[in-house]
């Protein structure tokens, strides 16, 4: 068997596994449903998601620890994750392959623009890193002597890097130096503030959440439209056009440039390219090359194996080994005889600009106050969601909660929600088959980063040991008396009260005798919400007969995760339940 057959087999296996796990991410105990399958496997193997959330929270949460395995494999063997495992990479490679077979001939040549992905990475990590830098700075001021020692050591490393590696080292030195300055002075100059903080945006462009989200919210709902195997009621996705459109666009881009995403955009590939810089074994060219350049033409990553090999671009597809007529391409410990370049070829300016932009981006996004005083009331988070700042520090917008939600009421926030909230989960009572079911805990079970904490039914309903805390409230239902049938039109209706699942009901009926057109007295039962009992499940909103703009609507006021949004003065649930 040729080595690329093994690679193709691996790619096919992991792509199928990815799809299988997406199918299995369903609420229930049948064999094809969740019941303990590692449905978050690919997300947990994603070191970019782990790193960004760890920078923002100081915690590598739960299964995200598996990302260490990916880092270890990459450090030793290069970007085999990209070439052999990543389902997104596999799809890109497949489209590019089809393009070549069709004679469209996407370009395989290396482009200097491939360094863009390192800028994307620098931007995303800088955006996520503010909290870590400020925390380190505070720590440094508390322990100045060891901090000075560390800073000096960093300086020495940076100096050595410049001496040894020239321009590549200078880039490392710039990053290290900027970090050192920030740690030394950041805590002094910058005040802890709701805008001077991290913002975890990796989920927008990290390929694993990207593909998971597209699969969960667009591909499966579309594929299942006729079959109806996965969803009894056809599933809808708010803003699905954008998620799906981006998936299609990025895949089609492979007809223009081979492995378009992996080469130009992928921040995870960039991270792994850097992690792989010292891989002891790697692709090399031995003496005796006839310069046929077939390897360059087969190279998925644009690593230029026939010349000075760009190891950071090498996705370990091994096509160069397979295609070499001279038999000089090899995988070995010794350096390539044609020369090699371990670190990415990215300009210092690019890195500095990206880091700078990233550090400015989070404060800029927060300046609008969308997570403080000007928060969007319609953004109702799933039960178990951490308080909004901590939630945004963790959510990678993977869509697993949306996939698993049995009623499809968890939806991706659309572009109207802004960059920070884009594709994060919100409850939409109109779109699903019902609101949030009282006895369901599924979203908390699948969240890979703990943005939605695991919660029990007792916790959700405020029973047992959680009685003092009360139920988890995601918001409050408000009756729109100008639209509600008995309030606005003197028409009888009690649907919201009837379907309210809490006991005692959070919607009571206020009886009032009115006179109808014939002059007869009619007793109208009008709904009134008790905000102390309402948990915001949205079942009333879903059932409301005023089908357009519902006459009873849930907004996030009084959600239990947030003190700032409370409606009632009494005891509230803890403001923070984690890290």
């Amino acid at each position: 068997m040729r080595v690329i057959h093994a690679r193709r087999a691996s790619q096919s296996f992991f792509l199928l596994l990815f799809l299988a796990l997406a199918v299995l991410t369903a609420f229930g105990d049948r064999p094809w449903q969740m019941r303990g399958w590692p449905v978050g496997l690919f997300l947990e193997l994603d070191p970019l998601a782990a790193l960004a959330t760890a920078l923002a929270t100081g915690v590598v949460w739960g299964g995200m620890i598996w990302a260490v395995l990916t880092v270890a494999v990459t450090a030793l063997l290069g970007r085999v994750f990209c070439g052999w495992v990543c389902p997104f990479g596999t799809l890109h490679q497949a489209v590019g392959w089809v393009g070549r077979r069709l004679g469209i001939g996407p370009s395989v040549r290396y482009s200097p623009a491939q360094s863009f992905k390192y800028c994307v990475l620098a931007f995303l990590l800088a955006t996520a890193g503010m909290d870590a830098v400020l925390a380190a700075s505070r720590l440094a001021h508390e322990h100045p002597v060891p901090a000075l020692a560390v800073l000096l050591a960093l300086g020495a490393v940076a100096f050595a890097a410049v001496r040894r590696a020239g321009t590549a080292g200078a880039r490392v030195a710039v990053v290290a130096g900027t970090l050192a300055l920030l740690v030394a002075f950041g805590g002094r100059v910058l005040r802890q503030d709701d805008a001077l903080t991290s913002s975890v945006l990796v989920g927008l462009l990290d390929p694993i959440p990207f593909l998971t989200r597209a699969t969960d919210t667009v591909v499966l709902p579309l594929l299942d439209r006729s079959a109806g195997l996965l969803f009894a009621t056809p599933r809808r996705t708010h803003g699905g056009w954008l998620i799906g459109g981006l998936l299609v666009a990025t895949l089609l881009a492979n007809l223009w440039r081979t492995r378009f995403w992996c080469r130009f955009v992928c921040p995870l590939g960039a991270l792994l390219g850097i992690v792989a810089h010292s891989a002891p074994w790697r692709i090399a060219k031995a003496c005796g090359c006839s310069a046929c350049n077939r390897c360059d033409g087969a190279c998925e990553g644009g690593a230029e194996p026939s010349r000075v090999i760009r190891h950071a671009e090498c996705v370990m597809c091994l096509s160069c080994l397979d295609g070499c007529d001279d038999g000089v391409m090899t995988w070995r410990a010794a350096p390539s005889d044609g020369g090699e370049r371990a670190l990415p070829d990215v300009s210092r300016r690019g890195v500095v600009a990206s880091l700078g932009a990233g550090m400015v981006a989070a404060p800029l996004l927060r300046l609008g106050g969308a997570i403080s005083s000007d928060w969007p009331a319609g953004q109702v988070r799933p039960p178990g969601a951490l308080p909004e700042p901590e939630f945004l520090d963790r959510c990678i917008r993977c869509g697993q909660c949306m996939r698993v939600c049995p009623t499809g009421t968890i939806q991706p926030a659309g572009p109207e929600a802004g960059v920070e909230a884009l594709w994060t989960p919100v409850l939409n009572a109109r779109i699903g088959t019902s609101g949030c079911q009282p006895s369901c805990v599924a979203c908390g079970r699948v969240c890979p980063t703990g943005a939605i904490a695991r919660f029990s039914i007792d916790e959700k309903l405020g029973r047992g040991e959680f009685e003092a805390d009360g139920p988890i409230r995601v918001g409050t239902a408000f009756v729109d008396r100008g639209r509600c049938l008995p309030w606005a039109f003197d028409l009888p209706c009690i649907v919201c009260q009837e379907t309210c699942p809490t006991s005692p009901k959070a919607i009571r009926l206020s009886d009032r005798t009115v006179t109808d057109a014939d002059g007869a007295g009619v007793v109208l039962r009008r709904p009134v919400v008790d905000p102390a009992l309402c948990n915001g499940c949205g079942i009333c909103e879903h059932e409301c007969p005023v089908s357009g703009l519902r006459a009873i609507r849930v907004t996030a006021e009084n959600e239990s995760r947030s003190r700032d949004r409370r409606l009632l003065p009494g005891a509230s649930r803890p403001a923070s339940r984690s890290g």
């Binding site: 070191p47 782990a50 760890a54 100081g58 915690v59 590598v60 949460w61 739960g62 620890i65 990302a67 260490v68 880092v71 270890a72 450090a75 030793l76 005040r191 802890q192 503030d193 709701d194 992690v275 810089h277 010292s278 891989a279 002891p280 410990a333 010794a334 350096p335 703990g450 904490a453 695991r454 919660f455 029990s456 916790e459 040991e465 959680f466 003190r563 700032d564 949004r565 409370r566 409606l567 009632l568 003065p569 009494g570 005891a571 803890p574 403001a575 923070s576 339940r577 984690s578 890290g579």
Partner: protein, 326 residues
């Protein structure tokens, strides 16, 4: 393998190993599996903010006169003078009502003349520092500027503390009904030896009157506007939140209607009275009479008295009555 490439290989292997080790160590060090309810917040024990002075003397003094500053001075003198409350070198916080960005004539806020007088009295008694603060309803800086309080304080030798985000810390009132783990403006209280409450007497739609106990509402942060659903419980808790050194209620031109914002001179009456005391409940019970009410008419006050914050029966304290010069 040549010597160079062996050395190169070993170097790379070492760096790769270091990468793996660093990733592994960071992963293990930072790994956390926060489980259900594992980190319940600690409910705070109640803690009183007690600034009462030990020196004995009259508990209530009522001064009358058209000039509020003179009346305030006379009332404090009647209690034994500021020296009874503020010792040399002590630091004093004056919590004024600066709630609204309205000029002093509107009577919606503590009058700068009285604020100035109190600051001077404290400094004359030997206070090391006098800080004036409030967390107003309107924009804080505007309130202190428009009311004239900032200018009055600074020209009298005091300092205004505009609340900052990190000045608010969670605090629980002992046996509090609603003020539990509530963000309270504790920053300006840090290092203070004495706390004086100073406010005008005003009408209020829900609690009937805004007097010295409700003045502590200006120490609250967070979503304090939700407290209006339980305003009487809140007033009871406020009486227990701070045990002040002294409170001064300015009833020279109390706001009789359209409170607590007012906006027209016609909302004010003329009572030419300033009351000072060490018992805020008694001060308020008397203050209610300036608005045509009694202490019993203020639904939050009796619970405050029952909780031990003072007495509604202000007459039992045998108030010292003085006439202030004009």
């Amino acid at each position: 393998m040549s010597g160079f490439s062996r050395r190169d290989f070993l170097g790379r292997a070492a760096r790769a190993g270091a990468t793996v080790a660093a990733a592994g160590a960071a992963g293990i060090l930072l790994h956390e599996e926060a489980t259900l309810g594992a980190k319940k917040p600690q409910r705070q024990e109640g803690r009183a903010l007690d600034y009462r002075a030990k020196a004995a003397g009259p508990k209530l003094a009522i001064a009358t006169g058209p000039q509020r500053a003179a009346s305030a001075r006379a009332a404090v003198e009647a209690l034994g003078g500021m020296g009874r409350f503020v010792a040399k070198g002590e630091r004093v916080l004056v919590k004024v009502n600066a709630g609204f960005a309205r000029p002093a004539w509107a009577g919606a806020t503590a009058h700068p003349d009285v604020v100035s007088e109190v600051v001077k009295l404290c400094l004359a008694a030997g206070a090391a520092e006098v800080v004036v603060t409030d967390n107003p309803v309107n924009d804080a800086a505007s309130c202190f500027d428009v009311t004239g309080i900032r200018a009055a304080v600074e020209s009298s030798g005091g300092r205004v503390a505009i609340p900052k985000t990190d000045d608010f810390r969670d605090h629980t009132v002992p046996d509090g009904l609603v003020l539990r783990d509530w963000p309270v403006l504790l920053g300006p209280l840090d290092g203070m030896d004495r706390v004086i409450g100073l406010c005008p007497a005003k009408d209020h739609g829900l609690s009937r009157a805004t007097l010295t106990v409700k003045n502590w509402y200006g120490l609250l942060g967070g979503r304090r506007n939700t407290l209006h659903q339980r305003i009487h419980d809140t007033i009871r808790d406020l009486a227990l939140l701070v045990r002040p050194t002294l409170v001064i209620l300015d009833g020279t031109t109390p706001m009789l209607r359209n409170g607590p914002t007012g906006g027209s001179v016609s909302d004010l009456g003329t009572r030419d009275t300033v009351v000072a005391g060490t018992d805020p409940v008694a001060v308020d019970a008397f203050g209610a009479t300036l608005l045509g009410l009694t202490g019993r008419d203020l639904p939050g006050l009796a619970p405050a008295a029952a909780a031990g914050a003072g007495t509604l029966d202000w007459e039992s304290l045998k108030p010292v009555r003085v006439k202030a010069g004009s």
